[in-house]
C-alpha cells in the first residue's frame, strides 16, 4: 500500500491517540484493582494498607458470587440471542421488501430513544399484570433483548447497506449455491459488524442495571447487588470480584489470541503442504 507524504506523521499521531485512549480507559480500572487490596472497608482514597482479606471475604460471600454467576449467564445468553436475532432482522430490513419500511426502521431505533427506566417499569407491569409471568432471569434476558437487538440490527444493517450485491450475484453466476454465497461472501464481509454487535450486547447486558432492577425476580445480578446496598454500602469485596472477572476475561482473550495464532499457523502450513503436494 503506497503511503502518502504525511502518512508517517499521521500514523504516529494516531498511534498516540490510541495509546492515550487505552490509558484513559484503564486508569479507573487500575484504581478499582488497587482498592481491592486496600485494608480500608470502603473502596476509596486514602489507601490504608495491603490486604488479601477482601478476596477471602468474596469467596465466602455467596450472595455476591451468585450475583456474578447470574450476570454472566444473562450476558452470554443475551449476546448470543441478540446477535443471531438482530443479524437476521438486519438482512430482511435491508434486502426484503417490507410493507412499512420507514415505520419498521423507526420502531427499531425507539428502544434506544426511550429512557431505560421507562422500558424497565413498562416491562415489570406488563409481565406481572398482563402476561402474569413470574419474574426470573428469563424476564431479565427478555428485557435485555429489547435494548440489545436494536443495536445489533442498526450496526449490521449499516454495514449491509453499502454492501456490494454484485459480489453475491457474481458468486451465483459462478455456480455458488445461495448457502455457499452467504457463507463465503456475505458473512465474512459483515463479520466485523456482527462482532461489534455481539460485543456491544455483552457490554450492555453484563452491566445493565435499570431494566434488570425492574424485571429481575429474587435472583440478583451483580449490578443490582451493588446498587442496592444503600443502607450499608459496598465493600472492596466487590472490587475483588470485579478484579477476578477482569483477569479471567483478559486471560481468556489472551488464550484465545494464542489459539487463534496457532490455528492460523496450522492452516497456513496445511495450505502450503497441499500446494506443495
Amino acid at each position: 500500500m503506497p503511503v502518502s507524504r504525511h502518512g508517517g506523521t499521521v500514523r504516529w499521531s494516531l498511534r498516540l491517540v490510541f495509546g492515550a485512549l487505552i490509558v484513559f480507559l484503564y486508569l479507573p480500572i487500575l484504581f478499582m484493582v488497587v482498592f481491592s487490596f486496600d485494608e480500608g472497608a470502603t473502596p476509596g482514597l486514602p489507601i490504608t494498607g495491603f490486604t488479601l482479606h477482601w478476596y477471602e471475604a468474596m469467596l465466602n460471600n455467596r450472595v455476591l458470587l451468585r450475583a456474578v454467576g447470574n450476570s454472566i449467564i444473562v450476558a452470554v445468553i443475551v449476546s448470543i440471542l441478540a446477535t443471531i436475532i438482530g443479524t437476521m432482522a438486519a438482512f430482511v430490513l435491508v434486502r426484503a421488501r417490507i410493507r412499512f419500511p420507514n415505520a419498521t426502521r423507526i420502531a427499531f431505533t425507539l428502544p434506544i430513544m426511550v429512557p431505560g427506566v421507562l422500558i424497565g417499569v413498562s416491562l415489570l407491569i406488563y409481565f406481572a399484570r398482563v402476561l402474569d409471568f413470574s419474574l426470573s432471569l428469563g424476564t431479565v434476558i427478555a428485557g435485555h433483548l429489547v435494548v440489545t437487538v436494536p443495536f445489533v440490527v442498526l450496526i449490521v444493517a449499516s454495514r449491509l447497506q453499502s454492501f456490494d450485491r454484485f459480489l453475491e450475484w457474481a458468486a451465483a453466476d459462478l455456480g455458488a449455491s445461495p448457502r455457499q454465497a452467504i457463507r463465503h461472501i456475505v458473512l465474512p464481509l459483515i463479520a466485523p459488524a456482527i462482532l461489534a454487535g455481539a460485543l456491544i450486547s455483552v457490554t450492555l447486558s453484563i452491566d445493565e442495571f435499570v431494566i434488570t432492577w425492574f424485571t429481575v425476580g429474587s435472583q440478583p445480578t451483580l449490578p443490582t447487588f451493588i446498587y442496592t446496598r444503600v443502607k450499608f454500602g459496598v465493600t472492596p469485596e466487590v472490587n475483588a470480584v470485579a478484579t477476578v472477572m477482569l483477569v479471567l476475561t483478559l486471560g481468556t482473550l489472551g488464550l484465545a489470541g494464542v489459539a487463534m495464532g496457532r490455528a492460523r499457523r496450522l492452516t497456513g502450513r496445511m495450505r502450503r503442504r497441499r500446494q506443495a503436494g
Partner: protein
C-alpha cells in the same frame, strides 16, 4: 481481498469467539451449579431485604444445620420495594420495610399477613416495647418481626465546622458551600428541610409548608457537593475531607475513623429528625412461608444480632444482644449508638412512611435541583 483470506479470517474469528464463549459459559455454568445446589429437606425461600439484614456466615450456618436457604435480593428503597411486591406478590416470601410503610402501604394494600409474634420463641429476646408498637399491631396479629432502627443524624468534621452545630440550619450556612453530602433520596431531603422549617409531619405537608421548604431547599442547593448513592459515599467523602457535613444513620463516626478519616461527631438536630425502624414482613401467599418461622428462630438469636451490630453498626431491637455486647466489651459502642435507648429516641423522631405530599415533594425537589 480474496475469498480465501476472508474465509480464513472468518474461521479464525469463529474459533476465537468459540474459545471465548466456551470459557465464559463454563464460568457461568459453574456459578449456576453453585447457585442451585439445594438439598432435599428444608428448602429455599425468597427474601427481599436491606443489605444489612443478614451476614453471610450466619446464612451458611443456618443452611448447614436446618437446610434452609435464604435467597436474597436487595432493596434499594421503600417505595421501590413496595412497587415491586405489588407486581410480584407471592413470588417473594418475606420482605423488609420501614416503620409506617409496613401498615400504611404493605398491609393496607393486602400484601402481607399479620402473625402472632409471641409464637416465635426468639421474640422473647426483643425489647418488650418492640413487640407492641402501635403502628405494627392489628387485631389479627403483628405486622412484622422488628429488626433494626436509627434516627437520621447530622455528622460534622470537628476541625472544620465550628461552633458545634445543633440544628438543621447548619446545612444552610453559606460557609459550607459545596461541603455537604446528603443521601440521594429526594423525598427525605425535602423532609429534612421540612424539619428545619419547624414542620412536624414532614411526609404530609401542606402547600404553605412546602412553599417555605422550597426557600430552604434553594439555600441548601449550593452547599450540597453531591448526593450519596449509598452510605459508603458519605463515609468516603467525610474520610477524604471533601465533605464536612453528612446526614445518615447512627454509627458514622466509627466508620469514618475506621476508614482512616478525621474526627467527626454526630448529633440529632434540635428541631427533631426523621428515622426508621424496620421489620421482616411475611408476604401473603408466599409459596415457602413454612420456612420463615424456622429461619427467624435461628437467624434472630442474640449472638447473631450482636455480630450484626458489630458489622453494620446501627442499633437493633434484640435486648439480649445488648447483654452479649456488654459481655464482649462493646458496651461503649452500643451506648454511643443508643442501643438501649430505642423507645425514647424513636418517640422523638418522625417515622418514615408513605405520605400525602410525596408527589409534591418530588416536584419541588426537581424544580429546585434541576438545571
Amino acid at each position: 481481498m480474496n475469498a480465501i483470506d476472508n474465509q480464513l479470517s472468518r474461521r479464525r474469528f469463529l474459533q476465537a469467539s468459540a474459545a471465548v464463549g466456551a470459557a465464559v459459559s463454563l464460568g457461568g455454568i459453574t456459578a449456576a451449579c453453585n447457585a442451585i445446589g439445594g438439598t432435599a429437606q428444608g428448602g429455599t425461600f425468597n427474601w427481599m431485604t436491606w443489605g444489612d439484614h443478614y451476614i453471610d456466615t450466619q446464612l451458611k450456618a443456618i443452611e448447614a444445620s436446618d437446610k434452609i436457604i435464604a435467597q436474597i435480593s436487595e432493596l434499594a428503597g421503600n417505595a421501590e420495594g413496595f412497587a415491586k411486591l405489588k407486581e410480584v406478590k407471592g413470588e417473594l416470601d418475606m420482605i423488609s420495610g420501614d416503620a409506617l410503610w409496613v401498615p400504611d402501604a404493605y398491609f393496607a394494600e393486602g400484601l402481607i399477613e399479620p402473625f402472632d409474634i409471641n409464637s416465635l420463641k426468639v421474640s422473647s429476646q426483643l425489647y418488650s416495647f418492640a413487640r407492641e408498637f402501635d403502628i405494627w399491631t392489628t387485631p389479627d396479629g403483628y405486622l412484622g418481626y422488628p429488626f433494626g432502627w436509627s434516627p437520621i443524624s447530622i455528622y460534622y468534621n470537628v476541625a472544620e465546622v465550628s461552633p458545634a452545630p445543633d440544628s438543621w440550619g447548619v446545612l444552610l450556612d453559606p460557609k459550607y458551600k459545596g461541603r455537604i453530602v446528603i443521601e440521594n433520596q429526594p423525598e427525605e431531603i425535602v423532609a429534612y428541610m421540612g424539619k428545619a422549617s419547624g414542620v412536624d409531619d414532614v411526609y404530609n405537608m401542606t402547600d404553605d409548608q412546602l412553599a417555605t421548604v422550597k426557600g430552604l431547599l434553594e439555600q441548601l442547593k449550593p452547599n450540597v457537593l453531591k448526593f450519596a448513592q449509598q452510605a459508603t459515599d458519605s463515609v468516603n467523602a467525610m474520610t477524604s475531607g471533601e465533605a464536612w457535613l453528612i446526614t445518615g444513620n447512627l454509627g458514622n463516626e466509627d466508620r469514618v475513623k475506621d476508614a482512616g478519616g478525621p474526627e467527626i461527631k454526630g448529633f440529632i438536630p434540635k428541631e427533631g429528625t426523621v428515622g426508621w425502624m424496620d421489620a421482616e414482613m411475611i408476604v401473603k401467599d408466599g409459596a415457602n412461608k413454612a420456612l420463615l418461622f424456622p429461619y427467624l428462630e435461628k437467624a434472630e438469636v442474640a449472638e447473631n444480632i450482636a455480630a450484626n451490630f458489630i458489622t453494620h453498626g446501627r442499633p437493633l431491637f434484640n435486648e439480649a444482644a445488648y447483654q452479649v455486647l456488654v459481655n464482649q466489651g462493646e458496651q461503649d459502642r452500643a451506648d454511643r449508638y443508643l442501643y438501649n435507648k430505642a423507645e425514647e429516641t424513636l418517640a422523638k423522631t418522625t417515622l418514615k412512611g408513605p405520605g400525602t405530599s410525596t408527589e409534591k415533594s418530588i416536584q419541588l425537589f426537581n424544580e429546585v435541583f434541576g438545571a
